[in-house]
């Protein structure tokens, strides 16, 4: 007699055999056993199968499995390291990712963050670089001490015609010698004449119909509005434009690099990433070893 029995009915019969059904399921199975003879026959075979398995002879142990004292000393230092290594791995991986992001995304860059607060960041930059280099055009000129020019053994050259249109007489007579030792010639720098800058430029009389002259405050001349002055503008490159009163200068932020030209941040990210991987692998190996 061959009948099809669903897997659900098999599970119900098997659980009924072990008394592991709830009352509702139990009632259902009992109804099946009463109404379907093939289910009853299967159930009987299941009972016998279980009886056979219960008769399985027990094997006696070949030896005792008690542990010796050496195992009691082992509760292992290495196991305590596993969580530490995992945490270190996570921290190193996080720092590595942060370093990479700080290089790739401008918002993460500490240099940009510095510029957000002009009080904190702008002042030293103005003092240090751009303003010092480019602003002195209209500042009071500092007195420059020119060293005297000394020519050993005669003049550096003897004009042989040409002279670029310069008159022979314009060359100092002492510099023109013919052969022989010549004592050093010392030319003292001439004191520069102070250039007098008029406080007010004379007004130029405009003819009627002539256009209004440029005032010097528009973007065409590169001079920013007063409220824009002192701000640093972002530029597509690493250079950042520093706006001063009259000139725009680029303050270049040079990143620290290794002797091979690789940015230190990338090297740090690689080192941290390697450390993270090494810690993780060590933790896995220790865990695997502890299970044996």
């Amino acid at each position: 007699m061959k009948e099809q029995i669903s897997s659900q009915e098999w599970i119900l019969l098997s659980s009924y055999l072990d008394g592991e059904l709830n009352p509702r399921e139990k009632t259902r199975v009992e109804a099946l056993l009463r109404t379907r003879p093939e289910i009853h026959a299967v159930y009987q075979s299941l009972v016998r199968t279980k009886s056979v398995l219960q008769r399985t002879p027990r094997k006696s142990v070949p030896r005792n499995f008690t542990l010796s004292a050496e195992y009691s000393r082992q509760p292992q230092r290495s196991l305590r390291l596993i969580p530490v290594l995992r945490l270190s791995s996570a921290v190193a991986a996080f720092m590595s990712v942060f370093l990479v992001l700080s290089q790739l995304i401008p918002a993460f860059s500490p240099a940009v963050n510095r510029l957000v607060s002009p009080d904190m960041a702008l002042q030293p930059m103005q003092e240090e670089s751009a303003v010092m280099e480019f602003a002195p055009a209209f500042a009071e000129p500092a007195p420059i001490q020119e060293p005297p020019m000394v020519f050993w053994g005669g003049p550096p050259f003897v004009p042989q015609g040409g002279m670029g249109g310069a008159a022979v007489g314009s060359i100092p007579g002492d510099m023109v010698r013919e052969g022989g030792y010549a004592p050093p010639i010392v030319i003292q720098p001439q004191a520069e004449k102070a250039i007098e800058v008029p406080q007010t430029l004379p007004e130029i009389a405009r003819q009627p119909g002539e256009e209004e002259p440029l005032t010097g405050s528009g973007p065409i001349l590169g001079v920013r509005e007063p409220q824009e002055q002192g701000k640093i503008l972002d530029s597509p490159t690493d250079q950042r434009m520093l706006v001063t009163g009259d000139a725009e200068v680029f303050a270049t932020e040079s990143e620290p690099t290794t002797p091979w030209g690789i940015p230190i941040a990338y090297v740090g990210a690689i080192v941290l990433g390697t450390l993270a991987a090494a810690f993780m692998v060590t933790a896995l190996i220790l865990k695997k070893a502890s299970r044996l």
């Binding site: 009948e3 289910i39 075979s45 094997k59």
Partner: protein, 220 residues
């Protein structure tokens, strides 16, 4: 220490209170207390390992490794059935052993017939010279049939059927020991029994008359 506990192949019956006290002591690092627990469960553990692995040496290794692992991790025992917890260690150890055997298969030491190179199941040089009683033979045949049929099962079914039908665990203990929900245990057990029923019925006359199984129905 372990030496004075003596060799025992029998389960030492402990009351629940005794067991709880021994577990507490073992968690504090008392090896003697842990070894008393080992003596209580070693036979059950070895039998489970043997039925799962179908190899006595491998079962021995798996049982020993399971107890070592249990001692190392006993601090992680969070109450419940200690028997189920220990059997989980044994099951995991058996899975590890099966993986190891799968990676490095071993060759049996049984000799081969010279002519047809077939294995001799009971070589004369290993045979026990003592005459066996008839019932002993019957038990051996029964065990051989059962072991053969259990070994034919998928490994995840073996643990369930051995724990519940051979060792007498209830479903929740088996679920705890195997680490799967109750529904999975029920399903696996039903499928395992279905296969065993078919397999054992193939042995027919080898089984004792009261256990011979007929063929009544087919699983769909």
């Amino acid at each position: 220490m372990a030496a004075h506990l003596g060799r025992s192949g029998h389960k030492k019956d402990l009351t629940d209170m005794d067991e709880a006290g021994l577990i507490k002591d073992a968690i504090r690092g008392d090896l003697d207390a842990f070894n008393r627990l080992v003596l209580t469960y070693q036979e059950m553990a070895f039998n489970l390992a043997f039925r799962m692995l179908n190899d006595e040496t491998a079962a021995e290794d798996a049982t020993q490794n399971a107890f070592i692992s249990a001692y190392r991790h006993i601090g992680g025992f969070r109450g419940g059935s200690f028997k189920a917890w220990i059997m989980r260690m044994v099951t995991n150890s058996c899975y590890d052993e099966l993986r190891r055997l799968h990676r490095r298969p071993t060759v049996p030491l049984e000799p081969l017939h010279v002519e047809d190179e077939e294995e001799i199941e009971s070589p004369s040089w290993l045979a026990d010279n003592q005459p066996s009683a008839e019932d002993e033979i019957e038990i051996q045949e029964l065990e051989k049939a059962i072991q053969h049929c259990i070994a034919e099962l998928p490994v995840e079914f073996r643990a369930v059927v051995v724990m519940i039908d051979v060792q007498g665990f209830n479903y929740s203990e088996a679920a705890q020991a195997i680490g799967h929900p109750l529904g999975t245990i029920k399903s696996r057990l039903a499928r395992a029994r279905m296969r065993l029923r078919i397999c054992l019925s193939g042995f027919g006359e080898l089984l004792p008359s009261s256990f011979r199984l007929g063929e009544e129905a087919e699983f769909s």
